[in-house]
């Protein structure tokens, strides 16, 4: 009876024994029972054989399954699904990292910095004022404005007199922010005539064009008629 009870207990535990799911004590009991009981050993062999048979059938069935029919469908569905933003970003990062790691990258960075410096210098030079000390597009030709120097041009005495009066009554020159745009504003900074007479007719408002008269001879009435 006791033996029968042990056999029954062992029979119930055989599945778990084969799966290795018993506690060490239970496993030890099953092993002892199998060593001592022929009925239990027969039962164990039957169960073992059955499990081996089932495993073989399963493997065979899997082998027979036509995976080639299944795979294209799976691949197609993967391919049709757009990559996620995260995946794309990760891909971009990866490529960027590789790009920076390339040996040409430092040259590119250096060239970019050089170009930026050149462009900034040019823009600064172009925008700087004639009074500024940083101007560099072209050297400024020094011009003397000293009225005491020897004048090559023939100057009308009346003009000189006018000049002296004007200098005496110098109005406050408006700051350039206050001064309106003068479309034909012109300054004659130097002139030299080997012969003849030079008269400059300038609009003080800078609106009308300046006329640089040069008369081959004394000029006659034309010179007198034009405002100085």
């Amino acid at each position: 009876m006791n033996e029968t009870k042990n056999c029954q207990q062992t029979g119930e535990r055989l599945e778990k024994f084969l799966d290795g799911e018993l506690t060490p004590q239970q496993e030890q009991l099953v092993k002892e029972e199998l060593a001592n009981c022929g009925t239990c050993r027969v039962k164990y062999e039957q169960v073992s054989r059955l499990r081996a048979l089932v495993r073989e059938v399963y493997v065979e069935e899997v082998r027979r399954a036509d995976l080639e029919d299944l795979l294209p469908g799976v691949l197609r569905s993967i391919k049709n699904r757009p990559p996620s933003l995260k995946a794309r970003f990760a891909d971009w990062l990866e490529r960027y990292r590789i790009g920076l790691a390339s040996p040409v990258a430092p040259i590119g960075v250096a060239a970019t910095v050089a170009v930026a410096i050149i462009a900034a210098t040019l823009i600064y030079a172009t925008n700087s004022s004639p009074d500024g000390s940083t101007r560099s597009i072209a050297p400024t030709v020094a011009e003397s404005s000293s009225p005491s120097g020897p004048a090559d041009a023939v100057v009308n005495p009346g003009v000189v007199s006018d000049l002296a009066k004007a200098v005496a009554k110098t109005p406050r020159r408006p700051r350039h922010e206050e001064r309106p745009f003068r479309k034909n504003e012109t300054y004659i900074t130097y002139y030299n005539a080997k012969s003849g007479t030079v008269v400059v007719d300038a609009d003080p408002d800078g609106e009308d064009p300046t006329v640089v008269w040069h008369f081959d001879d004394e000029g006659g009435t034309v010179q007198e008629e034009n405002k100085i």
């Binding site: 040409v104 050089a114 004639p130 404005s145 001064r179 002139y191 030299n192």
Partner: protein, 182 residues
């Protein structure tokens, strides 16, 4: 070396030369007119802008204006553009410098040589040389190309420092008649 860097590098190395290629030049538009006291005909060929000033600047003595020639000279910095005038003399215009919104040029014609600073886009006249039964009047406008654009008419000047030609510091009237010395 990755091939994708090649066009970028080529562009970067060409960029400085492209920037330099944008050097400023001045477009001088020279209109040659014959002004006479006979009749009161104004050539319709004469541009509206010039015609507007003819009566103001020359109307006291001359009443008839005929356009003889018109040319555009594009002159680079420190270069001189020349054209032959009807009286066989040569007009030379040298682009000297840029001063803020002003273009500095030297005009050479016959015995006269003068240095002028003119507002970018501005117009001035040279007149007085006898030709046929009147005088030659040259209307010369100077417009900077490849540099800062001319300021809008009627607007206040931008906040750039003002150019200070020596003669204008004292009085606007004196600016044009100072016998400057080289």
């Amino acid at each position: 070396m990755r091939m994708r860097w090649v066009p970028i590098l080529v562009f970067l190395f060409m960029l400085p030369s492209m920037v330099w290629a944008g050097e400023p030049e001045v477009k001088f538009r020279v209109t040659v007119l014959l002004a006479t006291a006979q009749g009161d005909h104004v050539d319709p060929q004469i541009g509206k802008r010039i015609r507007e000033y003819l009566a103001k600047s020359f109307g006291a003595r001359y009443s008839s204006f005929r356009q003889l020639d018109t040319r555009v000279l594009r002159v680079a910095l420190d270069k001189t553009g020349e054209m032959l005038l009807p009286d066989q003399s040569t007009l030379g215009l040298r682009f000297r410098d840029i001063h803020g919104e002003f273009v500095k040029l030297t005009m050479t014609i016959k015995d006269l040589q003068t240095t002028i600073r003119i507002r970018n886009g501005g117009l001035f006249f040279q007149a007085g040389h006898r030709y046929k039964n009147g005088i030659l009047v040259l209307a010369i406008s100077a417009t900077l190309e490849g540099g800062p654009p001319p300021a809008g008419e009627g607007k206040l000047s931008p906040t750039r420092p003002e150019p200070r030609p020596a003669a204008t510091i004292r009085n606007p009237r004196t600016r044009a008649i100072e016998p400057a010395v080289k």
